[in-house]
Symmetry: C2
Subunit: 418 residues, 2 copies
């Protein structure tokens, strides 16, 4: 597919993350006005809430955008999703008949504040990147036992906290937590000293389901994708995670990119999951290309310093697709709802420079990394800004998500000394 | 405290679970009418939604009961909770001046269908009963290593699925799942063969919080309690739970009792947590009696047969209180919201007859139990009805929750053969 041209000129460059081919959904406000639904086009945002209020966009006969989140559209299902995308494409395409009506509804992105694009119903985080699982397993159990026995048969995951999901740009407060180091006689309650990122993609469930669904049905139910950083307190995790999995180590915050890129925009970038070591059981079998070729990168910037790219990888490094994860999520009959967010798990490539967490990049702190600005890092220090970026590259155009960024603030004074 | 008398005569017997001392909150409908908020009194339900519509109940100046859940009240905080309880007590007490206005708002409980009393925001399940953790640990790792190293220092828990929480009376469909027995060469996708209950109490968060809160603050933020049965697929759990904890094994359903018993109603039954093997760190220290003396029981009834009581225990068997669990839940900064549900973890006493799961009662299937009706059970069979009951016993009165019951239906035909 080639670049589709828009009358919004800034959308027509090969590097612009928001060409007419993309049309990602977000929520924005201007000055102190109320938050509203918008679609990114070039360096502008089309106010979809206002477009609906004026009757320029009219779907399903019922208002979908009079609320500051996209869940009402998600719930409508694929036919309405396609109808909106068609309508927006018509309105914003080069030569559009309705340009005069639409142009007053554009807001410069530079003037807008971006908010959470959806109400997160529930949040699940998977562990479905093989290089990441192998690296972490090797650090903890040696390379022979790196992958848990179930890993090649099911996409392992755990439920996270929806209440802790925040939009890109939100500052992240270094957490306190109980931990016990190998040399400690007793546990201590201290600020996290091994605070980390996890480079992930998030899949957003649109259509609800009640019972078990197939991988093909799961793919059909997915509304879109975001970049996702699952902030992780490694020292808290090490003490708490046996036998019930990560809990407070993952509950400080999870950041997502401000724009939901729809499945439709990503269609040209579909690719296959990797070769299988063991054949998957029927309920998890691949039924077409369900991963996406999306370049991903992580940058780290100490306070007041320029950013260094510390990792580059690609979403196609996943072993399980989001559709397989969602299908697995429903096997026991678990109901899924619009706004459910599924983190892919940390995405790491095979090379050292392709690792999606500091835990892997610094090999548990044993091999600290050096930034271009000279600082040495094993884990995140106060004031560091971590940013995820993602781009699918088409023929003369780019599909972007907006940065997924956060700055880590110092821990509070002891929260229990009041 | 003694029985408080109501002009609703059925509320005044020592065995009635819903005396004036209780006033638990639920959601009900009659015939096919719309669901509304109600409070149980004797064998009647007072229609609180209608009482508010008529101005008989007026709190906070804003409607709280025009929706079929109690979350709007929860959000208001302790002062409004107390005001409602005072007002309801006044309206329903013997000799109430407003009896003539209130009496037409009573609905016989026998005519009502009970619904979920709240919208569950998120659901967390703990593992904080010592006898249960010891029993399960002994089965899997032997008595010397039964308790994980962190167990005596933090209330271990994991996030569950809010979407799978259902009200008592909802049928429970036996799940399918991927599992691999010790003698299997490869995993299989089959119906669960070791389907189980977990006898728990659920604490409901009322007041929201943003950062870390103390145990005392956590106690103040709790709105009330329900009975909770965390249905568990033991064979699925055994294969999936390492290293990230239970996932699909716990996602089929969690049943709760239809009535939320408020913290106020339980005040006379407060009791201390047990002696501590290790002193807890400051953020988890007990700050008063935060458990409750509530008798609990489980019955099992094969299809068409009378029920057998298979376990009796008490909520005071917990090692950690709900307040300690909630405080721990916030240590990393995790935001908590009205309607968050915290399962206590399975409650087992020290004796064999006091175990709150079939896993423990049948010792992993090695010592099947025999019901009064002659059937032999290691785990749940299709058609079995499992019921939890709870009662706090005061001086001449009883505080009840309503039964928490569910019947297990046969697994669907293979959900992927369509």
């Amino acid at each position: 597919m080639a670049l589709m041209k828009s009358w919004v000129g800034s959308a027509n460059s090969a590097d612009c993350p928001f060409p007419l081919n993309n049309l990602p959904y977000g929520v924005f406000s201007v000055d102190d006005g109320e938050a509203r639904c918008g679609v990114a086009i070039g360096d502008m945002i089309l106010d979809v809430t206002e477009a609906e209020a004026q009757g320029i966009v009219d779907l399903a006969g019922t208002p979908l955008f009079d609320v500051p989140y996209w869940n009402d559209l998600m719930e409508q299902g694929p036919a309405v999703w396609a109808a909106l995308r068609d309508r927006l494409t018509t309105l914003l395409a080069e030569g559009a008949a309705e340009r005069d009506e639409v142009e007053p509804l554009l807001v410069p992105m530079a003037r807008a504040t971006l908010h959470m694009p959806m109400a997160v119903s529930e949040y699940t985080d998977f562990y479905a990147g093989r290089n990441h699982a192998f690296n972490v397993g090797t650090m903890f159990r040696g390379p022979e036992n790196a992958l848990p026995p179930n890993w090649l048969h099911i996409p392992i995951g755990y439920n996270g906290r929806a209440s802790s999901v925040v939009v890109s740009g939100t500052d992240i407060r270094r957490p306190w937590g109980q931990l016990k180091g190998p040399d400690d006689a007793m546990p201590r309650f201290v600020p996290c000293a091994r605070f980390d990122i996890e480079l992930e993609m998030g899949a957003i469930v649109g259509t609800p389901s009640e019972g078990p669904i197939t991988v093909a049905e799961a793919d059909a139910n997915i509304f879109g994708y975001v970049l996702l950083n699952d902030w992780s307190a490694r020292d808290i995790q090490a003490w708490e995670y046996q036998p019930l999995g990560p809990f407070q180590a993952k509950a400080t915050a999870t950041s997502i990119s401000p724009w939901i890129v729809t499945k439709a925009a990503l269609e040209p970038f579909r690719c296959d999951t990797p070769a299988r070591e063991f054949e998957l059981l029927d309920h998890l079998k691949d039924c077409g290309p369900m991963l996406y070729d999306i370049d991903l990168a992580v940058t780290m910037a100490p306070a007041g310093k320029p950013a260094t790219t510390i990792a580059r990888t690609n979403y196609k490094e996943m072993y399980y697709s989001a559709a397989q994860q969602l299908a697995h999520h429903t096997t026991s009959g678990c109901p899924m709802t619009p706004g459910d967010l599924l983190g892919s798990g940390t995405i790491s490539g095979a090379e050292k420079s392709e690792r999606g967490s500091l835990l892997e990049l610094s090999w548990g702190g044993k091999e600290p990394i050096t930034l271009d600005t000279g600082e040495i890092r094993s884990f995140i220090e106060d004031g560091d800004t971590l940013t995820l970026t993602g781009a699918a590259r088409g023929d003369g155009y780019t599909i972007g998500f907006g940065d997924c960024t956060g700055t880590v603030l110092p821990a509070l004074a002891d929260p229990y000394k009041r």
